[in-house]
């Protein structure tokens, strides 16, 4: 997804390649760099998946859209809808996942439905005791995929609560996520986080683009 590398900068800035999480969020995270330097890559990998991901981008995006819907997070719904669009997921499929009909629709493959089911249960705090959902997801995902999906759904719950609590507003220029996130891109972002340049630019957006 070429356009995904050029996310909108925060605080009203023109498009820049160094703000992968979108307007507002990086600026807030700049205030807590100790946690943010780990949080940003973790969120990117959760939302977009890595090059060694066991979950295909389509199933991941549908599952995480469900999480954003359960969590009532307009910020992440919009971002994930844009990711879905870039992956060729149609608006009617997005609509189904965001509605109460997602368990019944034939539009989803069984593996996708299992991923959405498990993500839904994680978001609703029912995953610990829901045996049917667990049995279903384990039909389609091995240990690695199951743990990755659970981590991704849990991190998305956290991202939704973060966006809601901070009242982050989406920007019409913000694009979706690269899915999967290229390792080189992740390395570049994390390098900018560890040397502080990402956060200093987020805190002082007029100081120039990278």
């Amino acid at each position: 997804m070429d356009g995904a590398h050029a996310h909108s900068g925060g605080l009203g800035q023109a498009r820049a390649p160094w703000d992968p999480l979108g307007p507002g969020l990086t600026g807030c995270l700049a205030l807590v760099p100790r946690s943010a330097r780990w949080l940003v890559p973790a969120l990117l990998l959760a939302l977009g998946g890595g090059e060694r991901s066991r979950i295909d981008p389509r199933a991941r995006t549908l599952a995480l859209l469900r999480v954003a819907c359960v969590e009532r997070s307009p910020y992440w719904r919009v971002r994930l809808e844009r990711t879905a669009d870039s992956l060729g997921i149609g608006p009617e499929e997005v609509e189904v996942v965001e509605s109460d009909d997602w368990e019944l629709t034939p539009a989803l493959e069984p593996r996708e439905r299992a991923a959405v089911l498990w993500a839904d249960r994680v978001a609703r705090r029912l995953a610990r005791r829901d045996r049917r959902a667990h049995d279903e997801v384990r039909r389609w995902f091995d240990d690695e995929g199951f743990v990755e999906l659970t981590l991704a759904a849990s991190l998305t719950v956290m991202a939704c609560r973060l966006a809601n609590a901070l009242r982050l507003e989406d920007s019409s220029e913000a694009s979706g996520f690269p899915s999967p996130v290229p390792t080189e891109l992740l390395r570049s972002w994390s390098g900018q986080m560890f040397d502080g340049s990402l956060f200093s630019r987020a805190a002082h957006p007029r100081s120039g683009s990278p």
Binding site: S35, W38, L39, A42, R128, D143, F146, V147, E148
Partner: protein, 87 residues
Amino acid sequence: MSTVAPRVPPVADEEASPEARELFGAARELLGFVSNFTRTAAHAPELARWVVPLIAAVQRGGPDAELEPRVKELAILRTSSLNRCSF
């Protein structure tokens, strides 16, 4: 103490991949031990590599911590309680 069996077996030291061993080493350095959370997350090492230090950074204090330890601990306890998480 929970009597519910884990859904995925935690990765033991002797069966850890080189990437998981690296993660366990970092966890020992950060936390002094390797938790079952880290051993389970090690099944997805690409993500765990960032999540384990994130949790350490969020939960542990330090000279560059943003919150004082008492306030942070109270917030963590309340959040865990609301999420019914005894871990």
